[in-house]
């Protein structure tokens, strides 16, 4: 069975990723990475009263790219957007019981994708969008 230095939790999130998909009327959308580098992540968020009420992702990439995407959606769901903006790559890696050192930078972009989605939400006017 595969090891490559991945924790059980990483493998669990890879095998059973949470919150896969897209949100058609998303309030925020973020995209980071590049297929040339082997990782591309898209993050969709639905926000109500500045709280992330729904979140979905799509990821092209290695095991840790998929696992970190899944993990960050679980962490961010129900969070205030400003709180979610404070989530770091290290927080995601810690929550997954660590990532192999070589993977810490290249495929640990999930927090960046989340931040991009939140910034997109804020750019669109944040909570003023509510009630539209």
């Amino acid at each position: 069975m595969a090891q490559i230095g991945y924790s059980k939790k990483v493998l669990d999130h890879f095998m059973n990723p949470r919150n896969v998909g897209t949100i058609e009327d998303a309030d925020g959308y973020g995209k980071v990475g590049n297929p040339v580098c082997g990782d591309l992540m898209e993050m969709y968020i639905k926000v109500k009263d500045d709280i992330i009420i729904d979140i979905k992702f799509k990821t092209f990439g290695c095991g840790s790219a998929i696992a970190t995407s899944s993990m960050v959606t679980e962490m961010a769901k129900g969070m205030h957007v400003d709180e979610a903006l404070k989530l770091t790559r290290n927080d995601v890696a810690d929550e997954l019981e660590g990532l192999p050192p070589v993977k810490m930078h290249c495929s640990n972009l999930a927090a960046d994708a989340l931040h991009a989605a939140i910034k997109d939400y804020k750019k669109k006017g944040g909570e003023t969008k509510e009630g539209q």
């Binding site: 595969a2 991945y6 896969v20 040339v36 990782d39 591309l40 990439g61 790219a65």
Partner: protein, 384 residues
Amino acid sequence: MKRIYLDHASAMPVDPRVLAFAERYLKSDFGNPSSLHSAGLTAKTAIEDARKKIAELINAEKETCIIFTGCATESNNLAIKGTALRNMGKGKKVAASAIEHISVINPMKELQKSGFEFTVIPVDSIGMVDVEKLNDSLTKDTTVTSIMYANSEIGTIEPIKKISEIVHQKALYLHVDATAAAGRIPIDVQNDGIDLLTLSSNDMYGPQGVGTLYIKPGVRLQTVLPGGGQERGLRSGTENIFAIVGMGEAARIAKDEMRQESERLEEIRDKLIDEITKIEESYLTGHPNQRLPHHASFRFSGIEGESILLNMDMRHNIQIATGSACSSKTLEPSHVLLAIGLKHEEAHGSMVITLGQSNRLEEVPKITEAVKETIERLRQLSPL
């Protein structure tokens, strides 16, 4: 779930017959071949017997053409650095194809630092060495040219005989890394016109920890590992008798059974290629028919190879390999896939299957289903 192991290019089990044959050289016949007493003589005799079997596998002129080393990497280093340094008076150029193993490329890069010129010979989109470029690149200063017999990542078999003609017209020595090919397809160093040939024990069901270098009579090279003078002074160090004897027996079995076994694996390979290339946006990599009998390699659009490997392993208990950057230490995609002209994003989605003794034709549907499920699942996750 029963395991289906499809990564024989990475590691192979030792053939039980090999183990049975060589075991006593760990337990009772453990003498040092350099000792003059009877225990030493027993070990020495066993090593010479292994040398003979390996010489027979590749039709070497004499047993003494075979030098035992620690592994194929060491054989490649000895072949390249040994000849380049010994023949510096004739020229300071070396050449290799763009798809050589890293243990060929890195010694050549190291020679570059000592003032050698290193020429890389390109390959086409199915991995065949560009013989015209080879012809144009080589000069009388090129002391060693290294071209592999067959590639372990894309399965392509190179036209060694033709390459040998060019090398010997224009330059000095041809070194051939036959790690992936030995025991799979017939190799005849005399007929093929090979000066130096690398073999690996574990790549033909022998124990790990031993390789050989064939050196044609008259080829001049110097050691890269000086010491007690074993192996004609070309590779010092007390012999790994168990592994050497095992490699000899593995070579004998390969010679006897290669044809039949390769035909058996070819049938499985062709079936797998047929089925897997039916998947949307899946492509065979390497040569469509001039390829190793046990080798099937692919790439899939929109997904990444490490994820393929993990999903195949964890969900289906099937072990495959990938040339994806994400599974490498350097985070660079396989240089072989880039050399055949794949873009980075294409090289990321590769899968390599190498069959072996344990595989059966009846496994094909299960493997195909597993690949389909894997590709489908990862594509559902992918934004591409």
